[in-house]
């Protein structure tokens, strides 16, 4: 029971990170290697904002993080990614790698690489008989993740903008000829992705510690997205749980050192078997 809940909570965090990567990839075919760094920086920001206005509680910190993440996403798109439309996918990916370096440097410069835990939702709800505890934040993580995925699903299925988004993802040129504002769609994708990363970062920081090393979260999320298929939200959810299960079980049962490598071993296995992931669509030749 305890193992299942832990895997579900960890998996939801990874799935949220993966969802951000999938959103950006779907819209612009850019693999965002900076996602984990962005998530952790947003977590740090949430912590600092919470310290700045301790009396007001959750909402000022949340508003700051929300505003920062939306602005950050739009700025990344407008300043960097828009110039790289039409360039080889590798160039845009390299820019996100550089962004990852910069965000990680920001953790060192602004937060002095300190290990911080966000003091939120750490109340113990239930003690398991075999050790460990169910905390409030675990339930909050599951609920938030589910809400995000349902929201995204409804948005893509029913909202006009969501349908335009899918159209733009499928064929940007045709969509723009039907008066879909590609710049708006892509800014939106980046903003939503960074916001998803921020949520994941805050949830992660509330469950464990924020540190420069925890940016590995992004690579776990990337692995989850790749396992599920880079352009599939369903795949992100499934991939998140698969990767979390594998990490958690190897760390508990086999060897904690192996748990760092295990997502990548799974990734290699899945890529050898299905290069486009479990739910991903087979892509045109020049993309893979």
């Amino acid at each position: 029971m305890e193992i299942l809940v832990s895997i579900a909570v960890l998996g939801m965090t990874y799935a949220l990170v993966a969802a951000g990567i999938v959103l950006v990839y779907k819209a612009s075919r850019v693999v965002n290697f900076a996602h984990g760094e962005i998530a952790i920086v947003c977590g740090y920001l949430f912590y600092s904002a919470g310290r700045l206005w301790p009396a007001e509680g959750f909402f000022p910190a949340f508003a700051t993080t929300l505003l920062f993440s939306l602005a950050c996403g739009v700025v990344i798109y407008l300043v960097l990614m828009r110039r790289l439309l039409g360039e080889p996918t590798f160039v845009a990916a390299m820019v996100t790698i550089a962004l990852a370096i910069i965000f990680k440097a920001a953790i060192v410069v602004v937060w002095r690489s300190s290990n911080l835990g966000i003091p939120m939702g750490r109340q113990i709800l239930l003690l398991y008989p075999d050790g460990g505890a169910l905390r409030l934040i675990d339930l909050v993580t599951l609920a938030t993740g589910a809400l995000c995925f349902i929201g995204l699903g409804v948005f893509f299925r029913y909202a006009r903008l969501g349908r335009q988004f899918r159209g733009a993802a499928e064929n940007a040129l045709l969509a723009s000829q039907r008066q879909v504002d590609i710049n708006l769609i892509l800014s939106l994708a980046w903003a939503a992705a960074v916001f998803a990363a921020a949520i994941a970062g805050v949830l992660f920081g509330s469950r464990s510690m924020l540190s420069p090393q925890s940016t590995i979260l992004g690579l776990s999320g990337l692995t989850a997205a790749m396992v599920g298929g880079l352009d599939s939200l369903r795949g992100a959810l499934l991939g998140g749980f698969l990767v979390a299960g594998a990490i958690y079980l190897t760390a508990r049962l086999i060897d904690p050192a192996l748990s760092e490598a295990v997502p990548f071993i799974i990734l290699l296995a899945v890529m050898a078997w299905k290069p486009w992931g479990l739910f991903g669509t087979r892509e045109e030749l020049d993309r893979v």
Partner: protein, 357 residues
């Protein structure tokens, strides 16, 4: 790659010369003499920086052959270097092989691993290949870490490597190392320049530009891609092996993903598909942290950054990568070419027709 106008070339041999421009035939010997004479300045810090640069050049030329020429983006270069370092440590310390055997052995093992990694990598292209090599990096580093902690129980902090000796002469200080590393780096650059002018190098460029057309031209695409992986991994292992001797210690934690990214940055900033550019890029990226450090030291003492300078050193790498990708995607070598053009064609504004670069 030759920037000479095609109209002035009368034969294929002329098109394919090692140093096509007359000024290069003057400048390169001067550069060699200057590099050989540098130790006379007696500045050991400078020699240390140059040693690091030479090591970076060896590894970066290997990566440029794979990524810049053959178009296979690899984030796994650090793991090849790690293999070179570990094979050196095992061969040199556990089996007691001498320096002149341990280094080629590392290269051979590196080449073998490159071959093994290259076979599955043939399935992927572009960004998927980058992610696959990233996953491979973590798998290899995990294996090396577990070797380090389980089998060498005494050396959980890393495996130390004793100073090498060549024909009875122990390489102890930076000046000895300088001549060795300079020679190896020069040989690597020459190897890269020569290889890229052969059939193999041109096949790689064809694969990079459009692998389907390369296949229709009769190029055996998988075989040449594999060859690129093998050569690149062997050079990375050479750099890793020499680096292990130079630093005197090997740790699996030292070969991070950041190191692989740093090498990719050297290739991008120097110029993708240019061996000469790689030298510039390797020097630039090696010296950048020291330059940031020096600038930090100039600040008034109230603003001194202390340990946070590390963050600025890292951040500078990211900023430089973005600036180059946005504003000079062809790298430092393109800036150099423009300058050379300017002085060569002066007082005219531009040269006649550029051949494909």
């Amino acid at each position: 790659m030759s920037p000479v106008s095609p109209f002035l070339q009368r034969s294929h041999a002329e098109r394919n010369r090692l140093l096509p421009e007359p000024y290069q035939r003057v400048l390169i010997p001067l550069l060699v003499v200057a590099l050989l004479a540098l130790p006379m300045l007696g500045n050991s810090y400078l020699i240390y920086l140059l040693n690091l640069t030479c090591l970076a050049v060896i590894g970066a030329v290997g990566l440029n052959l794979l990524t810049g020429y053959c178009g296979q983006v690899s984030l796994g270069h650090a793991s090849f270097m790690a293999i070179g370092g570990f094979v050196t440590a095992i061969a040199g310390e556990t089996f007691g092989l001498p320096f002149w055997l341990a280094v080629p052995a590392s290269c051979l093992v590196g080449a073998a691993v490159g071959f093994l990694v290259g076979i599955p990598a043939l399935r992927f292209r572009g960004i998927y290949l980058a992610i696959a090599t990233l996953a491979m990096h973590y798998a290899i580093i995990y294996l090396l870490t577990s070797y380090q902690t389980h089998f060498e129980a005494s050396a959980t902090a890393g495996i130390s490597v004793s100073s090498p000796s060549l024909a009875g002469y122990v390489l102890s200080d930076g000046y000895d190392w300088y001549y060795l590393l300079l020679a190896v780096a020069a040989a690597t650059v020459l190897f890269g320049l020569n290889l890229t002018r052969t059939h193999c190098g041109r096949a790689w460029v064809a694969i990079r530009d459009r692998d389907i057309s390369a296949a229709t031209l009769g190029i055996n695409v998988p075989a040449y891609k594999l060859r690129a992986f093998v050569v690149s991994a062997a050079l990375a292992a050479l750099a890793g092996s020499l680096g292990a001797y130079f630093h005197g210690i090997v740790t699996a934690e030292g070969y991070t993903l950041e190191l692989a990214i740093l090498y990719l940055a050297m290739v991008i900033i120097g110029g993708m598909g240019s061996v000469a550019g790689t030298v510039l890029g390797a020097a630039f990226m090696t010296l950048l942290p020291f330059a940031v450090d020096a600038v930090g030291g100039l600040l008034p003492s109230a603003w001194r950054l202390g340990t946070v300078i590390y963050g600025f050193q890292e951040g500078a790498i990211g900023v430089v990568i973005i600036l180059f990708l946005l504003f000079e995607p062809r790298g430092l070598i393109e800036i150099f070419r423009r300058l050379a053009d300017y002085f060569q064609r002066w007082p005219f504004r531009y040269r006649e027709l550029q051949s494909g670069g």
